[in-house]
Amino acid sequence: MKLNSPLQVYKYLPQINCAECGDATCMAFGAHLIDRSKKLEDCPPILKDKYKKKYIELQTLLAPEIRQVTIGVGENVKNIGGDDVIYRHQLTFFNPTAFAYDVWDTMPEQELIDRVNKISNFRKFYVGKFLKVDMVAIRCVSGDAMKFAGAVKKVAETTKLPIVLCSFDPVCLRAALEVVKERRPLVYAATEKNWSEVAELAQNYKVPVVLFSPDLDKLKSLAATFQEMGIKDLVLDPGTYPQGKQLKESFERFVKLRRAGIKEGQKDIAYPLMSIPLNAWLVYKDAVTASYWETVLASVFIVRYADIMILHSLEPYAMLPEVHLRDTIYTDPRTPVKVAPGVNEVGSPTKDSPVIITTNFALTYYTVESDLSSNKINCFLAAVDTDGIGVEAAVAGGQLTAAKIKDTFAKANFEIKEKTTHSTLILPGLAARLQGDVEDVTGLRVMIGPPDSGRIPGWMEKNWPPKQK
């Protein structure tokens, strides 16, 4: 965005401090616009005609450096791009890299349906939410427009996920667009050779389109030409070569394009970038090796600037690290990952239920909490204030101590001797060395749980209820 202080934004706001946006002053609202935690549309007065000119000006000035492109419709719509910085600590990255997994039009129908369902149904629990994947990319392998359109139709019937149509043949693309034009699919791709016909499709069907060329001059030519034609929902694929010097150059192209787009404000190429880690399969035929290398390519380009990518491997050992790395890079570094310290009930604990200790690092807390609740273990779970540091590091660094544990129960008014029949605390296995201290400070019995909360169910079977002394 072109503005960098709340004061600059303030000049364009109504300056009436009406507080309708939820902030007390227009200046405060301006600060939220700068850090992108609020939208201009959250200000009802500026939407009035009186401020129309300023609204339009401000809208332009606040627009992200990299254009945001919308794919799909309805509840599964995905935005890609929209970034304003080249390092996440400078603000945060927006719109996590969209993962599109491929299917192809020569697949037997049932296989196609199964694969689409596998893509749609993938989920991995993480910090209070499920990590999922986003899109289905349909590749035209047959070269037959009818066949391609048929596969696209089948996919559209099977899933609500946004769709990417992949073919360099405008005839095939047109046939597929006829089938799914209502779904606002992403069209892949226009090249030096087919650009004129593909541009026409983008104009007629009003769909976003990918431009593909590993030659950055040509890619920029394509982008400039499409813009001239009024097509602005563009995505750039600068080529993802799977190995050797070509891969190094691919990496450099992503870095160059993003730097030019954000740091140098080169509007012609300030579009979302697409990477094709699937190309790992062009050089590796063995499924494990190819899946590994595809994950490696995906990782490189998740970190360095791909806004959308097309992947092939549905092996969990490929998908799990991919969804986790994307979450890693796109997590907002401004949001502390802590939960409120205190003693919480999991399920419906009684006086005989265990009291389990963990830290207030959100990841640890949610992991333990989900392990307990999903295994139906009723208990009290204490989140000790360790400044959001995990168990092992907090024990080493002195943020998890006997005194802190005692303090957590005192502040929560949780008198263990009254609230339980067993007067026992369970420490995480990784905090075993605190056992003596905690016994001394609290006067309670202290048991040592497993080092990983995933093993609490087995541990409970063996150790709970505690044997009488």
Partner: protein
Amino acid sequence: MTKKIKLSELGSLFGGLDIEALEGVKIEGDVELDLGQMGLNPQMAYALGHETAQMAFHLMNISRILGYPIDQMLGSPAQQKPVRPSKLIESKFGVARNEDWKTPIQEVVLGATSSDGGSRKSTVTLGGEVALPYYFDGPMPHRNHITMDVFDMPINMAKAVKSNYEDVINSPAEWAKKVVRDFGADMVTIHLISTDPNIKDTSPKEAAKTVEDVLQAVDVPIVIGGSGNPEKDPAVLEKAAEAAEGERCLLASASLNLDYARIAEAAKKYNHVVLSWTQLEINAQKELNRKLMKQCGVARENIIMDPTTAALGYGLDYAYTNMERIRLAGLSGDLELNFPMSSGTTNAWGARESWMVSSPLKEDTDWGPREYRGPIWEIVTGLTLSLAGNDLFMMMHPTAVQVLKEITQTLYGSKETEPVNIDDWVSAVV
């Protein structure tokens, strides 16, 4: 004469395209819309917008009938044929090098050959970068290196890791030989964990003997790691440093919560390099580096940093950004942060996804075989940090080492392969 019209009048005025009614009416840009009575709820606004657009449409038609070149004036896309250039607009893409990066990262040599008073066959040089890793802004003089973990006693390991070391688990020297000979380790890290008073309380003297054994067994540079016990480590590293005099080992580690000055002193006295370890805190890293240099007198070419590695899914976001900030600060001239970095990539094996048989949560999609999950967890953790600027990786799994080497050396530019044509990837049969 000019007559002002209001919205409410417009409808009746042009209701039947009554062109005669236009006589004497000058329509100005400031058509006055009296909305006072109506309020402005969204529905009403929409209806009004619609009404106004209709009017505008009629007015345009009128102008057209009157022979005014309205389409030209509006450039109206709805009325015009879309632009269809016959050829691509010629363009040249260019982007500038980053001018903020003026300070190179300190070069640090690990290991010493006989000509330099040691007994290593080869040395490893880290640092020297003038840009973020693999960027086009400037040459990256040294590739990433990998040092593989060896422990001075059998420890708990994930099954996928353990199966590689069962034959050497009781002999650090054999273990060290194996990682260099079979797994391509550039260096070896000997972790003296048995010295922890809560484990075996091995004496510093005995631990130093283990270090000598490892130095005998391999001729690559080594890292000497303590047990992580802050009371015991200074004494252990001191003795080990003495035993390895002149070998330019990396002493792991000096940190703010132990007597770092003793470790710094040992490094100076016996010619070693200090690993400056802090926990995910850029300011603490600055502080410790400053203390090592100013207070302890450690030379710049004898410092490497370990800003802490958290595993993928377990705080890698902090580790990544911390390293990236440290590297950017160093390149931009912060002389307390422009040192090479080392990562305890083995920490990836702490992530349950790397070792657990299956997800403890029934809602999760099946996690698949763990033999494949573990190494890739280690690879992705390391690779992510390599992109943030990490130079040296402490690792455990042979496959992870091999793959990380392949990708980092590819991005570094030393991997030659046959060119691949990706132009038809869409129709590839995979």
